[in-house]
């Protein structure tokens, strides 16, 4: 039992003291059993106040402290550190939340808020009396990262981690690396080519022994915990014989006649079933879409040195310290009929336009028609009033305007008409907007309640809308092509990954960070990070920035070879435990096994044993124990029950 407790009640500038009479709280709490010192303070978290607490602890030999201030989510660790600096065990500190859960929630009732604050602080004093000194313990951590998804974000993260000394398994679901960037041709803001960026990254990866890249690879299960994850990875075969004669394989491709839609070109063209994602793709070895491949025996026999349809999926088991998710996004695919998509002729998406620009030479053509006038409709699939995607996709205004500039640069006299809600060329991208306006593209603003109508009328493609900027006048344009400026959505298969890794998604269905400001690349699961567009829409620079950030966090967690863990797990009372296995059954982390217990060397009994490095301290096992043998450290019966008593005691 702690008998020399110090209590600090914070004004928080006024955030608390405008509603809670902090002096009164102090006066009451001062008389609580065990309290030897109690003070109010303007900002408990300020440096000077922290120093004061340290001095108080030392001078008065305090054995526990309570700070009544904001939510422990903000300052628990701050004040634990204060305790530690004064030589007090950090777990002999309890934070009383009298701001978020008192002053701010009851700004309308200052008298009641003050009474509530008194009860809260008393409860915390009661609790801290039973607090135990605890020591964090360390677990070994492998200095290895598993990166899932080899788009630009995943690859750049891998390179950075390797350069900081971490070993990397980089796995890519597709047979070819690079993700979406390779598809996008010339890119804003530097006009570099996507394909070249990907080849360069690939070369950098190949230079580093610390990176092992697997293509056609997917995680099927992940177990274990931070520092020691075990992942099972399935590697699909390419059905190409390793190190085969490339010329012969080329012959085979030439001879193969089966064609399927080429998703690299978003269905604009066909590709062979034996294919490369694109001519200069990496790795350069082709792959076969086996499900769509029905060659005759003769063909197989002829090319048996190159093609082997008997190849099987391989399984790889790896150990890793951390996991980084960089699985990217899907471009939004409009529904049939949405702005005439797939209904009216010559309506395509922005991603198709980017491919079309790449595939065209000198002349921009679609459906055998030379394109001179393009209407761009913005925010397709984003900022939806009715639909699910409430968010803005961030990249698309800039990407559309950049594409319009590209069209003007590469092909003669292509004009753009832009139908937008807000132009979001934020930051320096504004210069692109200025440039395209200067070159003569025209901008119309439509109202979100009255979307433009795209249809084929009398054999002609027509776009009708009301332009807010000219008194809501109805305007009709007959362009050669309509480009739907589509947004980013979470990958269709991302829920599978989320299921395997148990990483939460937000209301927009992208993977969710713990806190957008404090921990933007971390997930609620220790040692699992998210970066690039799987966390939310981003352009390349932003994807890379977040991927480097994830690399920095991941590396600093595991590069010492061990990780410090919280000691707040469970404790099993061997005397009380009768091994019924109820706790082992309920534990989601399989942290409980049985062991023999024989304290006096005599014939023992079977009891439950907790694995301290995997127990998360969730406490799910505690309520099911019929003999109440399980205590959650930091939440023992004494601690919780003294809180209950403190909260109810009359003021």
């Amino acid at each position: 039992m702690k008998e020399k407790i110090g209590v600090y009640i914070c004004h928080c500038g006024g955030n608390i003291s405008d509603y809670v009479d902090v002096e009164k709280v102090r006066d009451v709490v001062e008389k609580e059993e065990g309290v030897v010192l109690s003070k109010t303070t303007m900002f408990a978290c300020a440096d000077s106040a922290q120093k004061e607490i340290v001095n108080d602890i030392k001078e008065n030999n305090l054995d526990a402290i309570v700070v009544a201030s904001c939510s422990p989510k903000l300052h628990l660790s701050t004040f634990r550190n204060v305790a530690e600096r004064a030589g007090l065990n950090p777990y002999n500190y309890v934070q009383a939340n009298i701001r978020e859960q008192c002053s701010w929630a009851h700004t309308d009732k200052p008298k009641e808020a003050t009474e509530k604050a008194i009860r809260i602080v008393r409860a915390c004093v009661g609790r801290v009396r039973y607090s135990e000194a605890l020591e964090p313990f360390t677990i070994p951590a492998a200095n290895i990262a598993l990166i899932i998804g080899a788009g630009v974000a995943g690859m750049r993260s891998a390179i950075s981690l390797a350069d900081m000394g971490t070993h990397v398994y980089l796995i890519e679901k597709s047979h070819f690396i690079g993700g979406r960037v390779a598809q996008m041709g010339e890119l804003f803001s530097t006009d570099e080519k996507g394909e070249e960026i990907i080849s360069d990254l690939y070369d950098e990866i190949k230079k580093r022994d610390k990176i092992q890249l697997f293509t056609g690879a997917e995680v099927v299960s992940v177990s274990g915990s931070v520092g020691d994850y075990k992942a099972q990875i399935n590697i699909r075969p390419r059905y190409i014989v390793p190190d085969c004669d490339m010329n012969k394989l080329k012959e085979a491709i030439a001879e193969c006649k089966t064609e399927i839609p080429d998703e690299f070109n978003f269905g604009l063209t066909q590709k062979k079933v034996i294919y490369k994602a694109y001519e200069n793709c990496r790795p350069e070895i082709p792959a076969i879409e086996k499900d769509r491949f029905n060659p005759d025996q003769k063909f197989l026999e002829k090319y048996k040195d190159c093609i082997d349809l008997e190849q099987k999926t391989e399984t790889l088991n790896v150990n890793t310290g951390t996991v980084i998710l960089s699985t990217g996004f899907d471009p939004y695919e409009p529904e049939d009929g949405e702005y005439g998509y797939k209904k009216a002729e010559n309506v395509i998406t922005l991603q198709q336009l980017k491919r079309l620009i790449e595939l065209s030479n000198g002349k921009l053509e679609y459906n055998n028609r030379e394109i001179k006038n393009i209407v761009y409709v913005y925010c397709v699939g984003s900022r939806q009033k009715e639909g699910e995607n409430k968010y803005c996709s961030r990249y698309c205004c800039t990407a559309a305007i950049h594409a319009a500039l590209l069209c003007r640069k590469k092909f003669d006299s292509v004009r753009g008409f832009h139908l937008y809600r807000d132009i979001r060329t934020y930051g320096k991208h504004e210069l692109l907007f200025d440039e395209v306006s200067r070159q003569g593209d025209i901008f119309f603003r439509f109202n979100e309640d009255e979307s433009p109508v795209v249809e084929t009328a009398n054999g002609k493609l027509q776009v009708k809308f009301r332009d807010i900027l000219t008194n809501n006048e109805e305007v009709a344009i007959e362009p050669d092509l309509v480009v739907l400026v589509t947004g980013m959505i979470p990958r269709k298969d991302s829920s599978t990954v989320a299921g395997i890794l148990k990483t939460p998604v937000g209301s927009d269905k992208f993977f969710n960070e713990v806190h957008p400001k404090l921990r933007p690349v971390e997930t609620v699961i220790d040692g699992m990070y998210i970066c690039g567009t799987c966390q939310g829409p981003k352009n390349i620079t932003e994807s890379i920035t977040s991927s480097l950030s994830a690399a920095a966090k991941s590396n600093s967690l595991i590069n010492k070879g061990e990780i410090e863990l919280e000691p707040t797990i469970i404790r099993i009372d061997p005397e009380a435990c009768e091994w019924c296995d109820k706790c082992a059954e309920i534990c989601p982390f399989d942290s409980i096994t049985k062991t023999e217990y024989s304290p006096d060397g005599q014939k023992g009994k079977t009891i439950a044993l907790v694995n301290e490095s995997t127990c998360k301290g969730c406490g799910m096992c505690a309520p099911v124990c019929p003999t109440d043998a399980i205590d959650i450290i930091g939440y023992t019966n004494n601690e919780i029950e003294s809180m209950i008593d403190g909260l109810i005691k009359e003021v």
Partner: protein
């Protein structure tokens, strides 16, 4: 001695110091980069020009889009930075020159005299009480006054006094009153020579000086204020208990926001968009509706740029709370006799007609400008800047933190406009690059 770290500069007898990384600037970006590197085992020296670390963020009210209290997120970070055994902080110090030195870099740093001995001052603040001189308080952006002997602000780190020698009359009142005799008018600047392996520039941004947009009357009309002042008025550490209009201390009931003040505007030489002002204006509008429920808030905009995660939803929330959005470009602001203001604007939604509207308080959503100090850091091997004078990102797509000088990286708003989440991410990127770079030297 600037903080209670073991290896503060003064404890080392010579003025020659060695660190792995020099981080210039102690805003949110500088702190995040320093912490990442320190947690990775590197020794970091943070040089901050101001009397306290914290940058702009520590002075903000709440932050979009989650509306959490800015100081509450910033203070733990500041504290963590100040306490980290691998980080040494020099406040009120400036980098004079950085040169190549073999594999690494050599930096000259000057610590300016604050005329208060840091190791003695308790922040009591008796000197402040005794000092007879009152000047404008820069930390409240001129909304209030402060003394010439003063503690910068409540949440300052270090929270100790300084003497503003420019305004001090040398009356000696503070010196006589200071209980621990911390005040020392004979202090002089000190020079330090540092050897470092890598440098991170995190010197942040400057606010667009609102008076430069003459048509808007800032500095002339009392009830035209700028957005940083409004963030102060709304902050938990706010100077007054409520949002009051400067001319008569009355609560405003019809507030206007003028977006893109000093941004997207060639007439003031800044063609680019500042990226944060739409969002902070919507934030302030929501906070105002909470603080002054009877008040109308109108936002005059060109485009609303709510592009980040949760931003557009935040914009919609603002609309549904009753914030009015008018697409219009303000041509001129005029003052009326009662201190109210008439805004003349081009109403885009009505064919570009010029329309007038009256408001009793106008907030100019000022944009952000590059911090020009950076070019002074590298006198012998100048660092490349982009056309807007931000630090140039040499490999913008694949290595956004790289600058034109090997081993020198950039974090936060030094390379262009960005909000807090993006500043933190960019600091993460800079620290990853610096860590890899230092390893490559071995």
């Amino acid at each position: 001695m600037m903080n209670n770290n073991m290896n503060s500069p003064e404890q080392i007898s010579t003025n020659k110091l060695e660190y792995d990384v020099l981080v210039i600037g102690g805003g949110i970006a500088g702190q995040e980069a320093s912490l990442n590197l320190a947690n990775n085992g590197f020794k970091v020296l943070m040089v901050e020009k101001d009397l306290s670390i914290g940058g702009k963020m520590i002075h903000l009210s709440k932050v979009f889009p989650t509306l959490d209290c800015s100081a509450c997120i910033a203070t733990p970070k500041i504290s963590e930075t100040a306490r980290n055994p691998n980080i040494t902080i020099m406040t009120y110090s400036e980098v004079e020159d950085i040169k190549r030195n073999g594999n690494g870099l050599k930096a000259m740093v000057i610590e300016k005299p604050r005329y208060v001995k840091a190791d003695l001052c308790t922040g009591c603040p008796i000197c402040e009480e005794k000092c007879p001189v009152v000047v404008e308080d820069e930390y409240n952006y001129g909304l209030t006054g402060r003394k010439a002997a003063f503690i910068p602000f409540d949440l300052a780190s270090p929270r100790i006094a300084a003497i503003d020698i420019e305004n001090c009359t040398l009356c000696g009142a503070c010196e006589r009153a200071c209980p621990p005799n911390a005040i020392d008018f004979s202090m002089e600047k000190k020079e330090f020579e540092l050897s470092v392996k890598s440098v991170i520039i995190a010197t942040g941004f400057e606010l667009f000086p609102a008076e430069k947009k003459k048509e808007y009357g800032f500095g002339q009309f009392k009830n035209v204020i700028h957005s940083m002042q409004m963030d102060r008025l709304l902050a938990p550490t706010r100077p007054f208990n409520n949002v009051l209009r400067p001319s008569d201390g009355r609560m405003p009931d019809n507030i206007a926001y003028v977006l893109c003040t000093g941004s997207r505007d060639l007439s003031v030489g800044n063609p680019i968009c500042s990226q944060i002002c739409c969002m902070y204006s919507i934030k302030q509008a929501q906070l105002l509706l909470g603080a002054l429920p009877m008040t109308d808030v109108t936002i005059y905009y060109i485009d609303i740029r709510a592009f980040g995660k949760g931003f557009d939803e935040f914009y919609e929330q603002g609309k549904s709370m009753g914030v009015e959005f008018i697409k219009g470009k303000i041509a001129k602001i005029e003052e009326k006799e009662n201190g109210n203001l008439t805004l003349k604007y081009e109403d885009f939604e009505n064919g570009g007609k010029t329309v007038e509207a009256d408001h009793d308080l106008v907030v100019l959503s000022v944009g952000i400008l590059p911090n020009k100090d950076v070019s002074g850091f590298f006198k012998s091997e100048p660092i490349a800047l982009d056309i807007h004078q931000y630090v140039k990102q040499e490999d913008e797509l694949m290595s956004p933190a790289k600058t034109s000088i090997e081993g020198v990286f950039v974090a936060g708003t030094s390379s262009g406009p960005m909000d807090i989440p993006d500043s933190i991410l960019s600091a993460g990127a800079a620290s990853a690059e610096a860590a890899a770079f230092i390893r490559s030297l071995k």
